[in-house]
């Protein structure tokens, strides 16, 4: 699986790994690492190299082996086969104290049910440095570096979750190790603490610290890290720059959800829908425009319907949303009336639908042909639902024809949502025979209104 992934460093030709690592200045290297808890395999064929100054995030579903990978690098576990090298030396050749000077770990859970002062807790991090206070650093200074100097005298057990997280980070920094591993450090933090934490990690990284951080928030992963490692079911699914690694198809393969890329204010964001492509409950065609259909598009997609739309003008809000959601659409050039080609394409999409929805889109001469298309759908026996507010925005007086031809009026997005909540759009559920789509007659019989 690793072979076709972008950015995975070539590392097949390895002679003396230790010598090669020393020459390449590698901090960490995993070669063909397999690991199992008792008989249950957790990691398979993991290859990974970290150089000093790397800033790498690890993402992946629960149980994909992220924490185990981090523990392997820290020498807490030993691989079943393959080897884990830190500074070119196998982790089982380290004493714990030596290892703590090379690798610091911020654990996912941290319990300390005793009445110790924050200062005492932070100071424990200097254990691996021995008794030399010059090297060990100062708990107060370390807390100050994280902006929480005022916590030094407090009781650790009285702190909030976010404060505890920073104190544990301070404890790890006291080890003064060149590599910092973090296991979901942001999971207990509110959004402001999350951003502060990742900004801090960025800063520490600029000062030379190598960071390898497990996190769940893919958007944070996308924005903060230089490289991402995607773990899936114990294997490396992808490794490389975030934008290359977190493509929707990779996210879908790894997490089993639909993913969409959106661009906003110069940044790229991922959003998710719970259902995968191919899990469709029916096909809905939207006639909309100017942002009147964007919300319904998303709701229908999330509910598992296949959605098409048209005719929309390119760069229209609904068109952009549809593009981000990966919808098939009949599109016309910007600020242009619907032409013959787009109309024909729209009719094709429409005829393949189980239901046609007309949003409260303003109707003018430019898009009046979409109403004609909906009428044709009715004529072909496809149910059409029309937002009851559409006539208010109808400048050319054509929408009345829809109602006359048997379209059903509905109360817009609110009613649609309610219907989806109640289990779906009546008549669009898959037939119990296991057929992909319901038959036409079902849709009519369910009272969506025939011609």
């Amino acid at each position: 699986m690793t072979a076709d992934m972008p950015g995975l460093p070539a590392m097949s030709a390895v002679g003396s790994a230790a010598a090669a690592d020393a020459a390449a200045g590698r901090l960490v290297r995993l070669r063909d690492v397999d690991f199992a808890y008792d008989q249950r395999p957790v990691l398979r064929r993991i290859n990974l190299a970290l150089a000093p100054g790397d800033f790498v995030g690890i993402v992946g579903p629960n149980g994909s082996g992220k924490s185990t990978l981090v523990d392997l690098i820290d020498g807490i576990h030993q691989p079943l086969s393959g080897e884990v090298l830190v500074r070119g030396r196998r982790t089982d050749h380290y004493r714990r104290r030596e290892m703590a000077r090379e690798v610091a770990l911020v654990p996912q859970r941290f319990d300390l049910d005793f009445d110790l002062a924050v200062r005492e807790v932070v100071e424990m991090g200097a254990y691996c440095r021995g008794k030399d206070p010059g090297v060990a650093g100062d708990p107060e200074a370390t807390l100050a570096r994280l902006g929480v100097a005022h916590l030094a005298g407090r009781r650790f057990s009285e702190l909030s979750g976010g404060e505890k997280q920073l104190v544990v980070l301070a404890q790890a920094l006291m080890q003064q190790a060149p590599l910092l591993l973090l296991d979901e450090p942001a999971s207990a933090l509110d959004v402001s603490h999350q951003l502060r934490l990742f900004d801090l990690l960025r800063e520490l990284n600029r000062d030379g610290l190598t960071v390898l951080c497990i996190l769940h928030d893919l958007n944070l992963a996308l924005h903060y890290f230089d490289k991402l490692l995607v773990l899936s079911d114990g294997e490396v699914a992808a490794f490389g720059p975030p934008a290359e690694v977190l493509r929707p198809e990779v996210v879908e393969a790894v997490y089993g959800v639909r993913a969409y890329l959106h661009r906003h204010a110069g940044r790229t964001y991922l959003t998710f829908s719970p259902r995968l492509r191919g899990e469709r409950r029916g096909r809905v065609h939207l006639i909309c425009g100017g942002g009147t259909g964007a919300g319904m598009m998303r709701e229908l997609v999330d509910a598992g319907y296949e959605v098409t739309a048209g005719v929309l003008n390119a760069l229209d809000t609904d068109e952009k949303t549809g593009a981000e959601l990966g919808l098939r659409m009949a599109v016309e050039a910007p600020f242009t009336a619907v032409g013959d080609d787009a109309h024909a394409e729209n009719l094709d999409l429409l005829r393949a639908a189980d239901l046609v929805l007309v949003s409260a889109v303003p109707v003018s001469r430019g898009n009046a042909r979409n109403v004609d298309a909906a009428c044709e759908a009715l004529a072909a026996g496809i149910p059409v639902w029309v937002d009851r507010r559409v006539q208010a925005g109808d400048l050319v007086g054509v929408t009345g024809r829809l109602v006359d031809a048997g379209a059903r009026l509905f109360a817009g997005e609110g009613e649609l949502l309610a219907a989806l909540r109640d289990g779906g759009l009546r008549g669009l559920e898959p037939a119990p025979t296991g057929e992909d789509r319901p038959s036409r007659s079902d849709g009519q019989a369910d009272g969506t209104g025939g011609p």
């Binding site: 004493r95 610091a104 770990l105 300390l112 049910d113 005793f114 110790l116 424990m124």
Partner: protein, 346 residues
């Protein structure tokens, strides 16, 4: 055994607000309390001595032909010293075990060591081997023998599973107790001696017992070398590994130390309950959980508690004696329940 709910409340009890301006104030205070207990224990009894007389006798050293001197040097002094050493050993073993197991209801007896030692001593009584040295040897052998068994049961791939150790210890305790019961039934005429020994007492302890009890001193020094490791282990074994502690080695040393301390203490005093359980909790409330203070203060407080309990045991219904284990239980049980209640309110 102790479920999660029990332990939560127990630790809460240990989490009181504590004034901790360093280690020395606590150590000095505990030392002063111990001195007071020692002086009172030497002075009071069926034949009470004035403080001045205590001082004179102390300065004079053992002298032949003087009744006061004989009471002081041959009866009270060894008895008080054994009590102090046993109390100190049990308290230190209690701190070690509670913090290694991360379980507030642990005491020196859950590892099976005391039951093994009791079994050894019972065998000694049944075979009429006399108090010294065989009773002691058998008791220590029984204690360390059970520790070895429990140890082997808890060993998995070179690691000691603390939870299995706890369960195995309790199980073997019951087993040893059952064997003691069988021996008691078989040995009619010795039943009284066995029961009395099991209840714990310092009655009639002499200098020979002091020599055995002095064996605890080097072992009490061991955990003082591991205070930083023990602090870090409060965060759990995995976190301690991450911070650079050789966890398995530390656990091995500390468990053996606690086992030897318990076996030696039981061999000279029988079973004295609640000292190893309650003293560490009280000291945590006063001196905090950091071991630099907790260990020495617990050591001194344990000695004080047992010396004071022994004083009560031989003076309350004089000339009869209450077994000292009964006194510590009478004092310790309500105190512990109070701590648990208080913990729940926190």
């Amino acid at each position: 055994m102790s479920g999660a709910a029990d332990t939560g409340a127990g630790w809460a009890a240990a989490r009181g607000r504590a004034a901790r301006s360093g280690v020395w104030p606590g150590v000095l205070l505990a030392g002063a309390v111990l001195c007071l207990c020692l002086v009172l224990a030497l002075a009071l009894g069926p034949a009470s001595l004035s403080l001045r007389r205590v001082w004179e006798l102390l300065m004079a050293g053992p002298v032949q032909g003087d009744l006061d001197n004989a009471i002081f040097w041959q009866i009270r002094m060894p008895r008080v010293l054994v009590a102090a050493l046993v109390g100190a050993a049990l308290a230190v073993a209690g701190v070690i075990l509670q913090d290694l197991f991360l379980n507030p209801l642990t005491d020196p007896y859950v590892t099976g060591v005391s039951s093994g030692a009791a079994l050894g001593a019972t065998v000694g009584i049944v075979l009429h081997l006399g108090n010294l040295p065989w009773m002691t040897v058998l008791a220590v052998a029984g204690g360390l023998g059970t520790l070895t068994l429990v140890w082997l049961a808890a060993r998995r791939r070179g690691r000691i599973d603390i939870f299995v150790l706890l369960l195995a210890g309790v199980t073997i305790s019951y087993l040893a107790g059952a064997v003691v019961t069988v021996l008691m039934i078989r040995a009619d005429e010795d039943m009284h001696a066995i029961v009395y020994w099991l209840m714990g007492s310092f009655s009639g302890r002499g200098w020979g017992d002091v020599e055995v009890a002095l064996g605890v001193l080097p072992f009490m020094a061991v955990p003082l070398l591991f205070t930083r490791e023990m602090d870090i282990l409060l965060q759990g074994e995995k976190r301690a590994l991450e911070l650079g502690v050789e966890v398995e080695r530390t656990k091995r040393v500390l468990l053996v130390t606690a086992g030897v301390l318990t076996a030696l203490a039981v061999s000279v005093s029988g079973i004295i309950g609640f000292v190893g359980l309650v003293v560490p909790h009280i000291v945590r409330l006063l001196a905090g959980p950091a071991h630099r203070g907790l260990l020495p203060v617990s050591l001194l407080a344990g000695a004080s508690m047992v010396v004071a309990a022994d004083l009560l045991s031989r003076t309350v219904i004089s000339p009869n004696e209450i077994p000292v284990g009964v006194v510590t239980t009478f004092v310790g049980a309500p105190l512990f329940v109070y701590l648990l209640r208080r913990g729940r309110r926190l």
